[in-house]
Subunit: 497 residues, 2 copies
């Protein structure tokens, strides 16, 4: 099947890549991320550095990757710059210490930005595949990310052909790349089930510099089981959506759901699945997680369109044993399509994402702690929130055993503004911010979402700030954060008057 | 021509509207805004209040209006709540004093939000027209705004038939209203010149409660002539775009331009028009201002699509004297189409908007002063910035004779995040933030955009904040604003260490 292409060891593949080149890695989350060439690149970087020679790469990805990619390259100090989203502890530390340059992009904007040329040339595309034909047809594995764009634009392509994934995955991907302005047309998707592109990446075989054979599972972890807080958040989201359905603001046929990544998101989707008041629904989302697979099997989720199949190893085996069942129920798309603002608005998505912190007026911080330190990145949250039919943010009301209130007067980094955030849900309740002026929003947040231990503190903030369209006082805006930095507990906040 | 419809005085029309009802006013900016019925409503409110009876309305508009609408209703305390954008001094004061409830919406979101039902029923649509037929075909005047949606959804319609505008305006409007999800299709516009809708609003004649005859010009002011600062900003924008064209990041045929509202925007468009390096271009924008008309006459702007024709009275007469010339060069669309995220991205707009303040990392404040007081509202800036091919913000580097630096460490209200803002231009130069990490962005802003008097202060901020992915220090983040509030001059800032 790989006849005609050089078969390389990971080390031989890594040896082809030069210092200062830019690599576009396939994959999205740990699903479908490369696993052996980046490890070999990291070893090479360490050897070069030991020999006193520089070796750093520009690293483009789809989103986060596995530890063998971001983790290994960061540990080897092999990353000159990196975009977009990451979630690796070693890389995060390097970024926050200023050792690695990181700039963030909305995930739907990565492919157009690379095409625009503003990030320079893509020297290498390195992608994982489940199948390659002598004609240069590449079937990807458990995700798409930006692979189609990186392979098309790169000078050279390296492929990890991973026997862990069945070649029968051909048909699970739908690869559509829009033309750039002024020649761009509509993306002709009108329902999550629509297929509009190619099932494989077609590349000039001469561009394939080599294939590395592997047989390795995705480095995706599992999820924590829902706990009382995430369960309650999930139930509150379900309650809100059932009420919207009842009053007719969601059509009886329901609307497609998007859900963020992580334990809360996984619990929320589980709760929606258990809610008798919510009819069977489709997902048009970024990351397909474990709970979605469970709901597909129960018939509650009738179709899932995503950019990656980021499930636990056991769940993936369940899918692979029943591939023909899932073939008509799952599609994987490039991230500029899974996250397309055009499609988010056209399909009327109900979007559910997780906040690091939210302020009383509905502004959301998705990316940075205390204004400084990057957590992961904005991911697709902006793509979805801005154009949603209904945009929802979830978070537990407190963190660190109550020492941090996730609801504050002013977020320390702002990723989604009050103009785009419509509903906030914690384990305590639902703040529906639509049609409310800033003061009313603050009261809705205090009464419904803030932890009871912090409600009086927040009311006092509004009292001292009670002027202007937005009741804010700059000298107190970060008072709760300052109290935490100084005493380790936001409950020690004293407002300055 | 108005045979069959009740002809009313403004007072008779106003008498039909009841306390607590919601009115959707046509128009967008002062162009095409109603002029006599709202004045009569304001008089009625004053009389009711004098008699001890309540009289307040929910007021939906397209965007800002003229003084006879927002100004008169605000002075009469006749507005219970108001959305979206406004720019009237009396109304602004009432909002900032907490007397009038105001919530903001992205202008492209107003029509979908009203259709969703979340703002309740629209009792009345009150629109200005240049022509009405007995069959209920309404030709609008100098703008569209949300008129098509308000007229369709309202229980009753009142029309100001304004003889100041020629009936021959029929054909200047292109009214397209998308279906709501799950039945939504693409908006079939692929070039600024495409026409896809109706030239008139068609309404059941029985819904027309009456027509008021008027003959009044739009209450649009003129623009200040460009001054040395706005001229230099315009030249810098032109320089940036010429460079992008040269390196091929803008195609040789150029891309459509969007430009914000006001004196800076007017000067920028003028400067682009004078630049020999910029080829003739089209506008796909929200507000068509005076400078666009000048460029159409010079052949530099070959077509302008907008939501309103907000020009000075003299310029409007120039157009009306030459209607057939302009018929093939101007189209007016509903704001959900002029500002559509789908179309902004598809057409590849170069967007140029004005900031109140920008921070070192590229976050933009478009709406509030010192975190509290509403200036006008977000308008369409978010619609355009988020999905632009290239998003540019302009501002003078200082205000109040240098006592305020418009570039600060942390914006006091955040409307457009660093994830969406690509380029910042002041009279001092161009900060191209694309592909730059936060620390690099800050250096680009200091070296190119910050006023020389503030550069050392900003460098010192980076020195004390030099940790983390974003070099921020919460205790100093609003230090410049605090210095201004306490001493009247940001140059007195002392950083806390």
């Amino acid at each position: 099947m790989t006849k005609g292409f050089p078969i390389l060891t990971p080390e031989q593949a890594a040896a082809l890549v030069k210092h200062n080149e830019t690599v576009g890695f396939g994959g999205f989350t740990a699903a479908g991320a490369c696993k052996v060439i980046p490890l070999a690149l990291a070893e090479r970087a360490k050897a070069e550095h030991a020999a006193g020679r520089p070796f750093k790469l520009g690293v483009l990805t789809g989103a986060s990757t596995g530890k063998s990619l971001d983790g290994a390259l960061a540990a080897a100090e092999a990353i000159a710059w990196r975009t977009p989203y990451q979630s690796d502890p070693t890389l995060r530390k390097a970024i926050n210490e200023g050792k690695t340059k990181f700039f963030d992009l909305h995930l739907s904007a990565v492919q157009p930005t690379v095409r625009s040329g503003v990030l320079g040339k893509v020297n290498w595309a390195i992608v994982e595949a489940s199948r390659v034909t002598p004609e240069g047809e590449i079937t990807l594995s458990t995700s798409v990310g930006c692979s189609n764009t990186y392979v098309r634009m790169a000078d050279h392509v390296l492929i990890e052909l991973n026997a862990y994934h069945p070649a029968e995955l051909t048909g699970f991907h739908d690869l559509y790349e829009p033309a750039d302005p002024p020649h761009r047309r509509e993306i002709p998707i009108y329902a999550p089930t629509d297929r509009v592109g190619s099932t494989v990446i077609k590349v000039d075989p001469k561009k394939i510099a080599g294939i590395v054979h592997t047989n390795k599972p995705d480095e995706s972890g599992g999820f924590d089981a829902p706990d009382p807080v995430t369960t309650k958040i999930g139930e509150n989201v379900a309650k809100f959506l059932v009420d919207e359905l009842r009053v007719g603001r969601i059509p009886a046929s329901f609307l497609p759901l998007q859900s963020g990544v992580g334990n809360i998101a996984n619990a929320v989707i589980g709760a929606l699945g258990s809610s008798a008041g919510i009819p069977p629904f489709m997902m048009y989302t970024e990351v397909i997680q474990d709970s979605v697979i469970d709901l597909i099997e129960k018939g509650k989720c009738t179709f899932a369109s995503g950019c990656s199949l980021t499930v636990s190893p056991a769940k993936l085996q369940q899918i692979y044993k029943n591939l023909e069942y899932y073939r008509s129920r799952i599609v994987l798309r490039p991230q500029e399509i899974s996250n397309s603002p055009e499609l988010v608005r056209r399909l009327g998505l109900i979007t559910i994402n997780t906040a690091i912190e939210v302020d009383l007026f509905g502004n959301v911080n998705s990316t940075h702690v205390m204004g400084k330190d990057l957590m992961n990145g904005i991911g697709g949250s902006g793509d979805f929130t801005r154009n949603a039919h209904i945009s929802i943010y979830t978070c537990p009301s407190v963190a660190k055993k109550g020492a941090i209130s996730t609801i504050v007067p002013f977020v320390t980094h702002l990723d989604h503004s009050e103009h785009s955030v419509q509903v906030v849900v914690t384990e305590h309740g639902i703040a529906d911010l639509r049609g409310k002026a800033p003061h009313e929003r603050a009261m809705a947040m205090i009464e419904n979402c803030v932890h009871p231990e912090y409600r009086q503190l927040m009311k006092d903030y509004l009292t001292i700030s009670n002027k202007g369209h937005v009741p804010q006082t700059l000298q107190n805006a970060f008072g709760m954060h300052q109290a935490f930095l100084q005493t380790g507990d936001m409950r020690n906040t004293k407002w300055l008057s």
